[in-house]
């Protein structure tokens, strides 16, 4: 059975497919000049929402079903890793290290019922590049290269209009893989309010950011039919 070939070597363990993919993703972005960043899973409301121009009592908050923490007011399980991006650029700004580009893959949480395509925990790839003249065209170049690396050279990428509070313009990225258009995630140019909130001057810098489904890529790429298989602790998953 070819899919278990790695286990022929009894001395070596098998790796989780998401780790295999994470390595590929990081490598691809590092090659394009991005720095890997990590951040907390238990995040303040400030970094998860307010910094990202998602105000309290705005319907935009309904776009993500959030886990709030009991007895720890103003804390959430991060709903996206865009919080990590925000922290990284805030730091880079303070240290005078712009232009800069950061990439992170991290676990995120959504309070919703699970099924074959929905999990309460999953991973997101979040990346951003900020500089003087970074544009939508740059984002298109970076993401097209990325998806070709991940899913093959015949993949097509499309940008469609959307809305996210933290980006303006906001764009949804779709990829055509094996004849089917798939929604990969949100992206856009960082909203000036976000830049200001992390101490950058929107008159001087601009940049793109994206937050895409990570599990989704693994599922599409390798034909894993149910997202829940990824978190069962079942070694039969480790075939890649």
């Amino acid at each position: 059975m070819s899919e278990y070939k790695k286990k022929k070597d009894n001395h070596h363990g098998t790796e989780h497919p998401l780790s295999v993919l994470a390595n590929e993703v990081y490598q691809t972005f590092v090659d394009m000049g991005f720095e890997i960043v990590t951040g907390p899973e238990l995040e303040s409301e400030w970094y998860n929402f307010d910094v990202l121009n998602v105000p309290k009592d705005h319907p935009a908050r309904d776009m993500q079903d959030t886990f709030w923490i009991k007895d720890k007011k103003d804390y959430v399980l991060r709903t996206h890793t865009t919080s990590v991006t925000a922290r990284a650029f805030e730091k880079a700004g303070k240290e005078g290290k712009l232009p800069a580009a950061f990439i992170s893959i991290g676990k995120v949480f959504r309070n919703e019922a699970t099924d074959a395509t929905h999990e309460m925990q999953f991973f997101q790839i979040d990346g951003a590049m900020v500089g003087e003249n970074i544009s939508v065209a740059d984002m298109k170049g970076v993401l097209t290269h990325f998806y070709k690396k991940m899913l093959g050279d015949d993949v097509e990428i499309e940008f469609r209009p959307s809305f996210f509070p933290f980006t303006e313009p906001s764009i949804e990225v779709h990829a055509k893989f094996k004849g089917k258009w798939l929604e990969m995630g949100g992206s856009g140019m960082l909203h000036p309010n976000v830049l200001r909130n992390i101490g950058l001057d929107p008159a001087k810098v601009q940049g793109f950011a994206f937050g895409h489904g990570f599990d989704r890529i693994a599922m599409v790429k390798w034909g894993i039919s149910d997202v829940r298989l990824l978190y069962q602790g079942d070694l039969r998953l480790n075939q890649i």
Partner: protein, 598 residues
């Protein structure tokens, strides 16, 4: 929002065919989530997001947008909205709460409650709404047509023709249309009559006190505007979802109320030609300001990474009927009152980008002057992972949510409300599960690890846990990586991009071993070949040679076979038959003196 193609066509008769229109909407406006044929109509479900909820939660809004996008004719229905000359009114409206931004009312007498005309029924039913009666239907048509929520009270119930928008009293109760009772507090806003009866939760849902009956003759129309945050907080607290709430909480231009009143009045006149209209009472303390927005051609081009010309922008502004001035590469437009989403230069970059189409933007991989550092946490994770893999541990990821712990989430779609304090508990479950599958996995001993976050009262920490059924060790990532070399760097590695995952069968498997004692010169491959030829198509793993030893000029080969079906549970009997067949064949070949299968 559900949008009827036929309804749109009233305003844009030149609209392209439904399929083409869905594509145009998807690539230039918003996601079309579904498209459904319904008789001679097509119903689109368009995902209108908060930035365009101000103007696109309406058929007119969507039609105007498409007309401008495609530069086709928009038939403005407004000149048709006519009513007989209105009479003076005694209606008094007072706004006591600053959260009401506009309140318009009109008395109409001598109406007749009855069924709606067919076109009204068709319109409503096409988008999944039920026809109730002519007057209620008229308010719904107005909301789905122009976006303004409207409400009607039975005039005979409104004491002294006085309506007040006020904050509710703590503990005040209201019975809503449909009969559900809600208890209010002073942060909430109601419409009340002169006796203080609450008639309506402002902007959210009407009460049953002044509900229309079949005998209602005189009515009061309401078209109002409320503060979005106030509506949202109240509706959230009371757990009420209505179309009115959705529109108000996303913020609606108070200017729309006047349009809604005009359309609603005209509709009622069409349905009740005998109706007598009184003047509109309009309380509008602070008129919405006219806003101007400037943007430069260069800045738009710089954001999009696409050279956009003045001419292209002018052409778009004209199609969208936007008044503008152009001075030295800088446009100044007057923002239409409904377009609350247009506030900054970047908003115009989005407008121009999406109208032109993002396919016009050509990709480019930028080179920036930035020296990335090695991320210490990720380096540690990689080092730990490589070390454990090399030590024969396999990686798993288990759930963060557990049924006990130190950090709890407030509400959850699941019954596991706590965050894990350790990885060990999950790992032990994983070991148990994998132990059952050990023959399938072809491993002697299950050894697993996980690298992940554990949550304690004091905060979160990245842990590493590894072990087998006897023992699981868990330490912090930092402790685990004490011996990591300082200069550790991530090696590029290449994985098999062509790999494919094969789902396992959900039916139980049966593992069997067969030991063959043969003369020394017989190769294991010969035995294996006979097994393969006779094992049938239910073997998902094997024959795998797991043991061999020599004794007295003879050699013993032990093979393992794992049987499993993707369609059913296999029985011992049928597997026994196969094993016996294999045994017989091996014996028949004269290879072995002794065969043991179990």
């Amino acid at each position: 929002m559900k949008i009827s193609y036929n309804w749109l066509k009233w305003y844009i008769p030149e609209a392209p065919k439904a399929e083409k229109l869905a594509d145009i909407v998807t690539y230039h406006l918003a996601e079309v989530e579904s498209m459904e044929k319904k008789g001679d109509d097509t119903i689109f479900d368009i995902n209108i997001l908060p930035n365009r909820a101000h103007d696109l939660l309406s058929h007119q809004g969507v039609a105007r947008e498409i007309a401008s996008l495609l530069d086709i004719k928009y038939i403005d229905p407004t000149p048709k909205y006519k009513i007989p000359e209105s009479k003076s009114t005694k209606l008094i409206k007072t706004i006591e709460s600053p959260k009401c931004r506009r309140y318009m009312g009109r008395v109409i007498r001598n109406i007749k409650i009855g069924p709606s005309p067919d076109w009204v029924k068709n319109h409503l039913e096409s988008i999944g709404q039920r026809s109730i009666n002519n007057i209620v239907d008229a308010t719904n048509i107005v909301m789905y047509d122009c976006g303004q929520p409207a409400h009607v009270f039975d005039l005979s119930k409104v004491k002294n023709l006085k309506l007040t928008v006020r904050n509710a009293k703590k503990g005040e109760k209201i019975t809503l249309l449909g009969g559900v009772e809600k208890t209010l507090d002073e942060t909430m806003m109601v419409i009340s009559d002169d006796l203080g009866n609450a008639l309506d939760i402002a902007g959210i849902k009407g009460g049953n006190y002044a509900e229309l009956t079949k005998d209602t003759k005189d009515i009061i129309l309401e078209c109002a505007n409320f503060n979005p945050v106030s509506v949202r907080k109240t509706a959230q607290a009371l757990n009420i979802f209505t179309d009115a709430r959705k529109r108000f909480e996303n913020d609606l231009s108070p200017e729309r109320a006047a349009y809604g009143m005009q359309e609603l009045s005209a509709l009622i006149f069409e349905m009740c030609p005998e109706a007598i209209f009184e003047d509109v009472v309009d309380v509008y303390p602070e008129k919405q300001k006219v806003r101007k927005l400037s943007f430069s051609v260069d800045r738009i081009s710089s954001i999009l990474g696409l050279k956009v010309s003045e001419k292209e922008i002018e052409e778009i502004l004209k199609r969208y009927l936007l008044k503008y001035e152009l001075k030295k590469g800088v446009f100044e437009i007057i923002v239409p009152p409904m377009r609350l989403d247009l506030a900054i230069e970047e908003d115009m970059a989005e407008e121009i980008g999406r109208i032109l189409g993002y396919d016009k933007v050509k990709g480019n991989i930028p080179k920036i002057n930035f020296k990335p550092k090695v991320n210490e946490t990720y380096a540690k994770i990689s080092w730990a992972r490589n070390k454990l893999l090399a030590d024969g541990y396999s990686e798993v990821m288990t759930y963060t949510f557990r049924d006990k712990g130190e950090v709890e989430v407030m509400q959850s779609a699941s019954d596991k409300k706590f965050l894990r304090t350790n990885l060990t508990d999950g790992l032990k479950e994983s070991i148990k599960l994998n132990q059952l599958n050990a023959p399938f996995l072809g491993i002697e001993k299950v050894k697993v690890f996980e690298i992940g976050t554990a949550f304690k009262k004091g905060g979160e920490e990245m842990h590493v846990a590894f072990g087998d059924k006897k023992n699981v060790t868990e330490v912090s990532l930092n402790d685990f990586c004490k011996d990591m070399p300082k200069d550790f760097s991530l090696e590029p590695r290449s994985s098999n991009l062509e790999a494919k995952f094969k789902m396992w069968s959900l039916f139980p498997f049966i593992a069997r071993d067969i030991a063959v004692f043969v003369s020394e010169n017989v190769k294991s491959a010969e035995v294996s070949k006979i097994i393969k030829e006779n094992m049938g198509d239910m073997v998902i793993k094997g024959p795998e040679l797991f043991d061999e030893f020599k004794k007295d000029g003879k050699i013993s080969y032990a093979f393992r076979l794992v049987f499993q079906s993707y369609e059913r549970t296999l029985t011992d009997t049928e597997v026994n038959e196969i094993m016996n067949k294999i045994t017989d064949k091996i014996k028949a070949k004269g290879l072995a003196g002794e065969v043991v299968n179990n």
